[in-house]
């Protein structure tokens, strides 16, 4: 990261932290939702952008996280602070179990497997009424409190989610710069050379997939606490597809790509409300144009004008 980029990042974060003070509760809700969505999107970027695999099932993990937390908190009275790691670990384990067989056969099979998995998870959420509440979902999910300080209000919960997503991003940033993360750069640039220097491609990819799934699970827990109510429709296949498009539109394999992409799919439709259904229609066709002219995503626009200086 160059100095200017670092300054820009700090300014951006400060602005984002101050802005909700001037917004009504719906505005604060949207800004919180963006933070929550970003947790899952950062995870997806790890899978798509760094490990080079297509996942069309991120919403399934988002949903597993949300449902595990909601069930633990509402039906068993377990606190948020225990539900969070349990949900994350559950997603990590499920990610390993799904990714291990699917990644044995390279190519696009992880994409197919995650797609099928998402549909399956959706069916279970919708049909297992005893556990998941079926189409009625689960309501009255409580918000956590921290050191005795309640996070029920819109603003306190916003700051909680905001700090959490920064922490999550920091962990991922650190991971990608560790020797483990460096192996990805090697994989992406030259898989054969990487393998010959002892990088176990399958193991690395699998771990990336599971960590990405765990990130989505964490996001899901925050989502459940944010909206207090979850139902299967929030985690359908189309949600996964939109999230994948968000990461790619922003610039997959760029650390801040998901941020831009999530703004495009979470915040922009609200600002451009007058467009209604046309918004997604325009978005869909814009994706095609983008793929033809700028397959690296919006963030690669800068590189078009000056080479180097990217945040890859």
């Amino acid at each position: 990261m160059s100095k200017t980029q670092r300054i820009a990042l700090v300014i951006g974060l400060v602005l984002y932290a101050v802005l909700p003070q001037f917004l009504k509760s719906y505005g604060v809700y949207l800004m919180t939702l963006l933070c929550v969505y970003l947790m899952a999107a950062f995870g997806l970027n790890l899978i798509v952008g760094y490990a080079g695999q297509m996942s069309i099932g991120q919403a399934a993990f988002y949903g597993i996280g949300a449902y595990v937390a909601a069930i633990l908190m509402t039906k068993m009275g377990i606190s948020f602070w225990f539900a969070l790691p349990i949900a994350a670990i559950a997603c990590f384990v499920v990610g390993l179990a799904l990714g291990f067989p699917a990644l044995r056969v390279q190519h696009h099979y992880l994409a197919f497997a995650t797609l099928g998995f998402n549909v399956l998870v959706f069916l279970v959420m919708r049909n297992e009424e005893d556990l998941t509440g079926g189409t009625f979902g689960i309501s009255n999910i409580p918000r956590p409190s921290i050191f005795g300080y309640s996070l029920d209000g819109a603003l306190p919960f916003f700051y909680f989610a905001f700090v959490s997503v920064i922490l999550l991003a920091a962990v991922l940033w650190w991971l990608l710069r560790s020797p483990w993360g460096r192996a990805f750069a090697a994989l992406r640039d030259n898989p054969i050379r990487a393998e010959s220097t002892g990088v176990n491609i399958t193991a690395y990819t699998l771990l990336a997939f599971a960590i990405g799934a765990a990130c989505a699970g964490i996001g899901g827990v925050y989502l459940a606490a944010l909206v207090n109510f979850i139902e299967p429709g929030q985690f359908s296949l189309s949600v996964s597809l939109l999230m994948l498009l968000a990461v790619i539109v922003g610039g997959s394999g760029r650390f801040f790509g998901p941020v831009l992409g999530s703004i495009v799919v979470v915040l922009l439709p609200e600002w451009l409300r007058f467009l209604q259904d046309w918004y997604l229609a325009i978005f869909g066709f814009a994706v095609i144009v983008l793929m033809v002219y700028l397959p690296g995503g919006l963030l690669s626009l800068g590189d078009r004008f000056k080479s180097g200086g990217g945040t890859r």
């Binding site: 696009h108 049909n127 869909g284």
Partner: protein, 292 residues
């Protein structure tokens, strides 16, 4: 026992429609390496086109069908290939897959915003009522669907195996470079594949819309089933798509009747996942060598 046979027959009829879509899907993959995630929307658009020609333009069914085939060949065949596949396929499979996802969302929302969000009724070309064969009762619609889909599949297979053009298309699918060396016009053969896919989609729309109703999101479900079918049968085998389609249709019907209607899709979905994990080349497929 009679119930079982009836379920299997109607499941096969539904499966035949899935097979038509899956067939187009595998043809595109073989000829050009295109994974088309908008395949379901390729069925939805012709359904609305036919409705337009019938209701607004007041044309008879068969004229509407032929006109729709023509429009679909131009729009979903030629234009799709020239505007999306040709410029994108050079970047590899992933950008193209993403672009077809974009196309799927774009077309769906365009119809929702610009045409209607309501489900539109669509008359079947077959008469209502049941055909009795002893104790067995089968609806004319199922019989008609089976016969029509069967005819389409048989004529397509005959075309691919018996005509010079068809064999040239197969050659392109198997090895593009050798085909080119042999003097086959590869670009034209690939274009034919796209045109065939468009027509198959129109036929599927004609057969499926009476049950599904014409709605902007009708393609989601049928696209997904075609996708299961193509992969279960074998991504690189036309026969595989047929087997996969029928399997998905029959399994759906049997699961709905004997296990739970809520999990209608469940068994086919499980089969899909098992195939991906244990036999990724599909039930009938051959292990795929890397396409050069």
């Amino acid at each position: 026992m009679v119930d079982l046979v009836q379920l299997i027959i109607s499941g096969t009829a539904t499966g035949a429609i899935y097979a038509l879509c899956a067939l187009g899907f595998t043809l595109l993959w073989q000829a050009s390496g295109t994974i088309n995630f908008a395949q379901g929307e390729f069925v939805m658009v012709p359904a609305f086109l036919m409705l337009f020609f019938i209701n607004t333009a007041g044309l008879p069914m068969w004229v509407a069908f032929l006109l729709t085939c023509l429009v679909a060949m131009v729009l979903l065949g030629y234009t799709f290939k020239r505007a999306m596949v040709d410029p994108l396929i050079r970047h590899g499979v992933i950008p193209l897959v993403i672009a077809t996802l974009g196309l799927s969302i774009g077309v769906k929302q365009l119809v929702k915003a610009g045409v209607t969000a309501q489900a539109q009724p669509f008359n079947s070309i077959f008469p209502d009522g049941l055909l009795s064969l002893g104790a067995l009762k089968v609806s004319y619609m199922d019989v008609g669907t089976l016969v029509l889909a069967g005819l389409i599949v048989i004529s397509l297979q005959t075309f691919l195996n018996r005509t010079v053009t068809g064999r040239a298309m197969q050659a392109v699918a198997q090895n593009t470079d050798s085909a080119r060396v042999l003097g086959i016009n590869v670009a034209r053969m690939v274009l034919y594949t796209f045109l065939i896919n468009a027509v198959l989609s129109v036929v599927a729309a004609l057969l499926v819309t009476p049950t599904y109703l014409a709605k902007f999101d009708m393609g989601e479900s049928i696209g997904l089933k075609a996708f299961y079918a193509a992969i279960i049968g074998g991504f690189n085998q036309t026969r595989g798509a047929l087997l996969g389609g029928v399997l998905v249709g029959v399994l759906e019907n049997l699961t709905g009747a004997y296990i739970s209607p809520a999990y209608k899709e469940g068994v086919a979905l499980m089969l899909f996942l098992v195939v991906i994990i244990f036999k990724p080349e599909g039930l009938l497929g051959k292990t795929e060598e890397r396409k050069v």
